[in-house]
């Protein structure tokens, strides 16, 4: 996917750093919550899409978007919005499956980047 390389380079910690007052331990705690929570939420989203549960799809996409917003990942937020729109039009479509796969791949890269970042912060 063309945006994946850009995604992997653009974790924006501005908001979290400000909100934690630059406290490294608090920042690490928030990033760890992101690491724990995001895969679970995506898994639930994937299931909800499969079961065609519209309300759940919206709720889980909203949760993912809120968390991605905290680290400045607008591109991925847009893709999630696109998934929601496509799901509303045609929940069984190939486009929905393609978007889900794209989101999963990009989240995997993001998870790896954040793990690396947490490791770096813990060593520092």
């Amino acid at each position: 996917m063309k945006d994946q390389q850009n995604d992997s380079q653009s974790i924006d910690l501005n908001y979290l750093t400000t909100i934690t007052g630059g406290d490294r331990d608090k920042l690490i705690e928030l990033l760890k919550i992101f690491l724990d929570q995001t895969p679970q939420t995506f898994k639930q989203l994937n299931t909800s899409v499969g079961l065609m549960q519209g309300a759940q799809v919206k709720a889980q996409a909203a949760q993912l978007k809120a968390n991605l917003n905290y680290i400045g990942r607008e591109n991925l937020i847009l893709t999630l919005s696109q998934l929601e729109s496509e799901f509303e039009i045609s929940p069984n479509s190939q486009k929905v499956q393609d978007l889900l796969r794209e989101i999963r791949e990009r989240l995997d890269i993001l998870q790896a980047d954040i793990k690396g970042l947490v490791g770096f912060l813990l060593k520092d």
Partner: protein
């Protein structure tokens, strides 16, 4: 206010809860009683504990924030904190105190908390010296005219108050100082600086020029600062 405001956080998102916990911890006058991951958990707690303020998300599974509010006979103050604007009308119909969009900045959070601390119609605590701030220097209390205060700088456990021609170093936190200064005249523009808005000489890029000093403006305060200035 003499007593602290007992508050709870209600949000199904763990990251948002942790962020709000940080904001509450940073805010003088708030006491966090619980951080709930669902409206049902909050409802159970509200039936047992005296809560003054709910920091409440809207979209949650099983029971939404709005449904929780509708179910309460006696509503505490409520600040809705959500990602979507579309619930604002319903929320204000339920008489919430404020409605904040995520991600929440500290200045916006503080503004909402101030509405809770000094709600319309409730008289504020009367102070005998509304135009002055008394600071303890050695064994004396010195009254500083608020209009003469140019800015306040954080210095570890102390703050340095700059007035015309004089500086006072006082044992206090930035939060403590902020609660003593009128919010229409003073604003925090950085973790380490509070400025008197009437004293700002110019703003260049992300720097305020005040009393001959160059003060950085923190990224989260930039937009808020611009809304506070009378600009053409």
């Amino acid at each position: 206010m003499n007593s602290r405001i007992n508050c709870i956080i209600v949000d199904d998102d763990a990251m948002t809860r942790k962020i709000l916990e940080n904001l509450v911890e940073e805010t003088e006058g708030l006491n966090l009683v619980a951080s709930c991951s669902s409206a049902i958990e909050a409802s159970n707690l509200l039936s047992k504990e005296k809560i003054d303020l709910i920091l409440l998300d809207v979209e949650m599974p099983q029971m939404s924030g709005l449904e929780l509010l509708e179910s309460l006979n006696e509503k505490p103050d409520v600040i809705m904190i959500t990602s979507k604007e579309k619930y604002a009308v319903s929320a204000f119909n339920l008489e919430v105190t404020d409605y904040i969009l995520k991600p929440v900045s500290y200045p916006r959070f503080l503004k909402a908390i101030r509405k809770v601390m000094t709600p319309a119609g409730r008289p504020e605590a009367v102070t005998a010296s509304p135009g002055k701030l008394f600071v303890k220097v050695d064994n004396s209390l010195i009254g500083l005219e608020l209009e003469h205060i140019i800015m306040v700088e954080a210095m570890a456990d102390y703050v340095r108050i700059y007035t015309e021609g004089k500086r006072y170093t006082v044992y206090s936190s930035m939060k403590g100082v902020m609660t003593k200064l009128p919010e229409d005249q003073f604003m925090r523009v950085h973790r380490s600086y509070i400025v008197n808005l009437d004293r700002i000489e110019s703003i260049e890029d992300n720097t305020v020029v005040i009393g001959g000093n160059l003060i950085p403006v923190g990224v989260t305060y930039q937009k808020f600062l611009m809304t506070r200035l009378n600009t053409l």
